[in-house]
Amino acid sequence: MREYFNNIWLGLTTVFIGMNVTFKHLFKPAVTIQYPDVKLLLPERERNRLYVNMDDCIGCDQCARACPVSCISIETVKSLPTDDLGKTSNGKKKALWLTKFDIDIAKCCYCQLCVFPCPTECIYMTDVFEFSEYKRENLLYSFVTLTPDEIAEKKNNFEKAEAEKSAQKAAAAAKKAEEQAAPKENKPSAEKPEDKKE
């Protein structure tokens, strides 16, 4: 019998306690925002769409190798010794023509693993997060600055040079070309300090 009345008592009081809580919240300001009109200020480390600054890219392929989902694909063509590709912003000499730098952003998992190994800090994550598309193909971003004609030309040049090289078999020329062409691949990134244990 006591339990019976206790049940009624608890049933009523706890309901009223709960109603009190919700009633108080009726007059509290909302915590939500009106999204497309109001936007949150994103923190500086925000990790959203990838962007590649092609002026600085040396085509070292390290980001593509770090990517766990293989969404970056890079193709390069060696430049001729006569070509001048300029320098990156941190003073590295570019030696490769980038004929393909595609990021399939639909595959990207925003893990940021590609950002850290980059020797010139040219690939980074921006705070752009509204880039939905109706077609999946539109999410395949191509960052190459060369036009298709130029790419064909560079490829052609390289093949010609190769052909010349093999024709001449000039050891000295080949050596020189190689020296310039060798990408500075294995240079450790600035972000990742040397491991002391190794």
Binding site: N7, V15, H25, K28, T32
Partner: protein, 357 residues
Amino acid sequence: MIYDFLLKLTGSEIAAGFIQSLLPLFVFILPFALIAVLLERKVSAHMQDRLGPMRVGYHGIFQTVADILKLMQKEDIVTDNSDKALFNIAPVLVFTGSYAAFAAIPFSGAFIGSNIDLGLFFIVAVSGLVVAGILMAGWASNNKYTLLGAMRSAAQVISYEIPTILVIITIVMITGTLNLYTLSELQTGHFWNWMIFGGPSTGLIKVAFIPFMIIGFVIIYISTLAEVNRTPFDIPEAESELVSGYHTEYSGMKFAMFFLAEYANMFAVSAIVAAVFFGGYQSPFGYLGNSLGISWFIPIEQFFWFTFKGIFFVLVQMWLRWTLPRLRVDQLMALCWKYLIPIAFVNLLIVGLITVL
């Protein structure tokens, strides 16, 4: 009064009756449903620290209109193996049940659909149609979830009618009438004449009534809440268990019918509670029309007070819904049979004794 006016206007009893019977639908139920749906969303949103619909119109006031337009455009899906005839009748029946209840509800002294002597009885009885509709919907959809929902609903609505009726009997015992108009007129004057404060009786008896009237009010509020399948008694729909119960397979306008019926029902039961315990359309402080000497203003005031009370109880229903979890089906039955009915019965007995004294 409105009927007389319409009769004069049209000169035909049939036309007048027809127009009058449509009045609550167009003047009341549809606008009310529009407002109540929005209100529900807004109330819930603000309770949860959100804003709710904000896009359509100022603070989303036209959201429901947009929703209805959307529902109308929707494809009417009838599943292959359903019982087509029943499937199509069910939403109509459910809506009819809740619409019919409005016939006997006194919106104001001048406007009562049908001033029948068995008003209260009629409302309780005609609500039973809803059960038939729900059972039909659940069966015809040919889906295990809908069937379970329908079975639960039938069991629930039928069980909870008993405490409702017991409380109504308590009131009838004091007032001696089932006519809602007379009942409302009995509670005229100021708010201390309302049934919850002992009604028109006087002296010590009036004081003695008050606690039992409050108990009666709580019981009838809980059981009518259960009758309209609102949280915490929404187990027939039980979104998280039965997907959405008996109307899982409905879409488009048929779904809208169920939805409309739910909101119409919410108001209907709130109206009963208001009429029985809170003076119906009577103002708590007397009428402006009386003091100003404008007699036609009184029915309008009465309409205002009635809607105000009705909507207040609807709001409390919403408030409860967004606060409480849902009961389990056996606990629901236990609450009805072990708590509400015995207490209502004892209440009836005591009130009866007091009346005799």
